[in-house]
């Protein structure tokens, strides 16, 4: 690469990086400044964080929303990884014509838009008296074709020798999954964990439909509620946004490397 081209590439990447980071920097600045300063375009972190925080918890039940989101997302993620990884393993390791056909049918479920199944699902859960329950929030997204596919692909690289050796050692089939498969597939599990947890944490449409009581409020709903008031306090709003982003950002930074590795395994 010539020097001129190199400069162009670096400049381009720097500009894109800055644009990518700027709105997040803006969010932090706004969360720590008075609404009036935010409007005036102040771009330095301020000292108004405590005041914004106080009026945020005055307006909304932040602790409750955080707890609800954490609980829902964590339980959902654990169940999803359990069900989908065992299924993906089953589809690949014990594959035969029948299972391959079932898998092909499952894949078509990926095309079903959520909006299409939302209304019948809402009616189903309300007939069962399950509106406002955690189960109703979780059940539709525990098993997803995408996750099953990801684990099925990953199972391909799991050596059959290990399975045979474990069988000779007297390990049960489900024992092989938990004692052998799970530890070897750490990066796939991490990638699946990030994707599922973030989706669950960020999910907005379905909770908005199925969780109607104030006591089931989740973080995205809380942030959205901050818009409800007539005049928007940008400092408070951005603090809500900031709090909503912290958990996903932490997970993102902790698992970024394994995410890239897991995706690499899945697209191979």
């Amino acid at each position: 690469m010539s020097k001129g081209k190199k400069i162009v590439v670096y400049m381009f990447l720097t500009v894109v990086s800055l644009i990518s980071v700027f709105p997040l920097y803006y969010m932090i600045c706004a969360a720590t400044n008075k609404s009036i300063d935010v409007i005036e375009g102040r771009l330095i972190p301020g000292t108004y964080l405590i005041e914004n925080y106080k009026s945020l918890i005055e307006q909304q039940d932040l602790a409750l929303a955080l707890w609800n989101s954490f609980r829902n997302a964590t339980i959902l993620t654990v169940l999803c990884l359990l069900v989908c990884s065992v299924a993906g393993y089953g589809f690949e390791i014990y594959h035969d014509k029948g299972k391959d056909a079932v898998f092909a049918i499952l894949l078509t479920a990926m095309m079903i838009p959520f909006a299409a199944v939302m209304i019948p699902m809402f009616r189903m859960f309300s007939r069962l008296g399950m509106v406002d329950t955690m189960a109703a929030f979780m059940l539709p997204t525990i098993s997803t074709p995408f996750m099953i596919m990801m684990f099925r692909q990953a199972s391909r690289s799991f050596p059959h020798d290990i399975i045979e050796a474990a069988r000779i050692d007297g390990l049960s089939e489900i024992g092989i999954v938990f004692r052998m498969f799970v530890p070897t597939m750490k990066s796939t599990y991490s990638a699946a964990f990030i994707i599922t947890f973030m989706n669950a944490w960020n999910n907005y449409l379905w909770p908005k439909v199925i969780l109607q009581k104030n006591s089931s409020v989740t973080m995205p709903m809380l942030v959205s509620n901050l818009l409800g008031s007539y005049s928007i306090d940008y400092g408070v709003l951005m603090l809500g946004v900031f709090v909503c982003t912290i958990p996903t950002a932490i997970i993102f930074f902790c698992f970024q490397k394994s995410f890239t590795e897991g995706v690499t395994g899945a697209v191979k």
């Binding site: 409007i39 299924a87 299972k99 299409a116 098993s143 946004v241 909503c244 697209v267």
Partner: protein, 296 residues
């Protein structure tokens, strides 16, 4: 000998059965929460009436769709986002990925983290950030004023409001798709590029002759998922513009939500709308898969 064979066979059969047990929970759940509601949605779409007071109406809902100006508007909006946003985002992601794949590039990790970072924000959160950036008294207008340009009422005009949605979506999703391309690029041997360079290929040539063909399956995957995501767009429409001004930025999912949960609920009509989305998603996915195959 024959006894051993028999035992082996039964062992294999036993394994097959265990395999079915392994995948049953997920299969049952997908049937219960995807296929069954889809059939129900179809049945529901043939019924008319408000709230729980439903009666069979045949194809009335579908006939109504074709005369519904709001539906036409939301259809136009959704496809407008699809046609403008998805290509820009994917091309940008591909360019960034191939730049970052360069071995001699420094600060690679830093660039990648920065560009991937928007994915860490939730959909509602980033909608709020862009809403306040582009607000009437927001940061962008303040900057415009400082430079001496008249402030723009971004959310008061249909085209500027659509532009904000598209900008926001490109910001949020480019890094996500870039990671998929980067992973794909890592599977391509670097020596292929070096050989091409020695043979006198320009970077542009090796991009179109090596990168694009080898990444085709991943490009197809990202195209299908992005199309699917854009056709189901909801959070941005609701939180960034609330569909406004009027219904000029409203997406189809947002319209379905409003039809079923905001005004007097009309589940039958909403179900018919959702079946229309389902057909469009399926047709587009099949079309894309077909195009993807033909290039081989």
């Amino acid at each position: 000998m024959s006894g051993q064979e028999k035992r082996k066979l039964t062992l294999q059969q036993r394994h097959k059965r265990i395999g079915w047990i392994f995948l049953m929970p997920s299969v049952i759940m997908i049937c219960l929460f995807s296929f069954y509601p889809m059939i129900q949605a179809f049945v529901l779409s043939l019924q008319t009436g408000l709230g729980v007071d439903l009666k069979f109406g045949g194809l009335n809902n579908y006939i109504r769709i074709f005369k519904d100006p709001t539906f036409k508007q939301t259809l136009f909006n959704t496809f407008f986002y699809l046609i403008i946003q998805v290509p820009i985002m994917l091309v940008l992601a591909l360019c960034l990925a191939s730049m970052l794949n360069n071995k001699d590039l420094r600060f690679k990790g830093l660039f990648r983290t920065c560009i991937f970072l928007p994915c860490a924000t939730s959909l509602v959160s980033y909608a709020m950030i862009f809403r306040s950036l582009f607000a009437n008294e927001g940061f962008i207008n303040t900057i415009l004023k400082d430079v001496g340009i008249d402030p723009i009422n971004w959310f008061g005009n249909a085209w500027t409001a659509r532009a904000v949605i598209i900008i926001a979506m490109i910001w949020r999703w480019t890094g996500y798709n870039m990671v998929f391309y980067l992973s794909g690029l890592q599977n391509i041997e670097y020596s292929v590029y070096e050989a091409a360079r020695i043979d006198g290929a320009t970077p542009l040539q090796s991009f179109f002759k090596i990168t694009v063909p080898l990444l085709k399956p991943i490009i197809l995957l990202t195209t299908i998922t992005s199309t699917n995501g854009t056709l189901q767009l909801f959070d941005e429409s609701l939180n960034l513009t609330n569909g406004g001004p009027g219904t000029s930025t409203m997406t189809m999912s947002h319209y379905i939500y409003n039809t079923s949960f905001v005004h007097s609920p009309n589940f039958g009509y909403a179900a018919a709308l959702s079946i229309v989305i389902l057909v469009m998603v399926a047709v587009l996915a099949l079309l894309q898969m077909k195009v993807g195959d033909e290039r081989e």
